[in-house]
């Protein structure tokens, strides 16, 4: 590289340096327009709504399907308590001290044998 060429490059670099050191100021009006566009075009942030205790319990249980199951199970349980099927001890009546008639089917001895009852009890038909 010749000396003249080196001088030219140095002079040019000095000019670039001056330009780099004094960048133009961005006009305020431009910055305001840029920010207005940014706000107008920004996607909405996902909303975080503070939920009530009841709503949070509702969520914790599992929302509507789970609540439906719970209600059904509660109703069935209540009904079994009020009107138990034949053969199922009425614990409600026992707790309340109400006497109840117990119907015990007299089982035929042979039938019991089929269930192995006599093996447990020995002389079941005797």
């Amino acid at each position: 590289m010749t000396k003249a060429r080196q001088n030219d490059d140095a002079a040019l670099e000095a000019l670039f340096e001056v330009d780099r050191a004094a960048p133009p100021e961005v006009p305020d009006a431009l910055m305001q327009r840029v920010m207005a566009d940014a706000v107008a075009l920004q996607p909405a942030a996902p909303r975080s709504v503070r939920k009530s205790i009841l709503a949070r319990m509702f969520d914790a249980v599992g929302r509507a399907p789970a609540i439906g199951g719970l209600v059904t199970a509660t109703c069935v349980g209540f009904w079994l308590g009020v009107a138990p099927p034949d053969g199922v001890p009425d614990f409600g009546a026992v707790i309340m001290g109400v006497e109840q008639d117990v119907f015990v089917a007299e089982l035929d001895g042979d039938a019991v044998i089929w269930f192995g009852w006599d093996f447990e009890e020995g002389e079941a038909d005797g």
Binding site: L12, A22, E25, L30, M35
Partner: protein, 188 residues
């Protein structure tokens, strides 16, 4: 590395609705692309339009921006370069007088005058270059970008960038040759 691009992270925050991210992105990008557009176009009003349009495109693409794919600045510079090229194609003459205001923080009046003279001369010489050479020289020597990034921005090969900047510098030197004394380079 594109993955570590802090502006890409800001862009993701902007897309997620963070208003502070918009301010930080605008503050980081707008001055750079405004300076670039002003140097390339030589017209303040046109540079403002280009910058606003480029930033609108950035805001719009934010929700679809894929981290690690490109640097945000490279993408924005490319948009600005294309917008500038479109505008330059539409006109034949460029007003050389419309140079930007200098900051008044020069240490002395004489130095300030000389700096002003140098900047005005550079602006005028830059405007005399062919459009692509001017863009390449500004990106390389004033914006300080590397040749591979400039190649991405101008959508040409690295060799083409080297050729554009070399020819641009030779043309600038020639354009400024008769002003060396006036710009005080005999003393440098």
């Amino acid at each position: 590395m594109a993955d570590a691009d802090p502006l890409a992270a800001l862009l993701a925050r902007y897309a997620a609705g963070d208003p502070a991210a918009a301010r930080m992105l605008a503050a980081a990008i707008t001055p750079r692309i405004y300076a670039h557009a002003l140097r390339v176009l030589g017209d303040g009003a046109e540079a403002e339009d280009v910058v606003q349009e480029a930033m609108v495109r950035l805001w719009r693409i934010a929700p679809e921006w894929r981290l690690g794919e490109a640097k945000v600045t490279t993408w924005v510079y490319r948009v600005v370069a294309n917008l500038c090229t479109d505008r330059l194609r539409k006109r034949r003459t460029v007003p050389l007088e419309d140079t930007h205001e200098l900051r008044d923080d020069a240490p002395s009046a004489a130095e300030m005058l000389q700096q002003r003279a140098r900047m005005t001369a550079l602006e005028a010489a830059l405007q005399s270059l062919p459009d692509r050479q001017r863009q390449a020289v500004v990106l390389r020597h004033i914006d300080g970008l590397g040749n591979p990034e400039i190649a991405e921005i101008l959508e040409v090969g690295v060799e083409a960038v080297e050729s554009l900047t070399a020819r641009g510098k030779r043309a600038l030197t020639q354009a400024l040759a008769d002003q060396r004394d006036a710009l005080g380079f005999e003393d440098d």
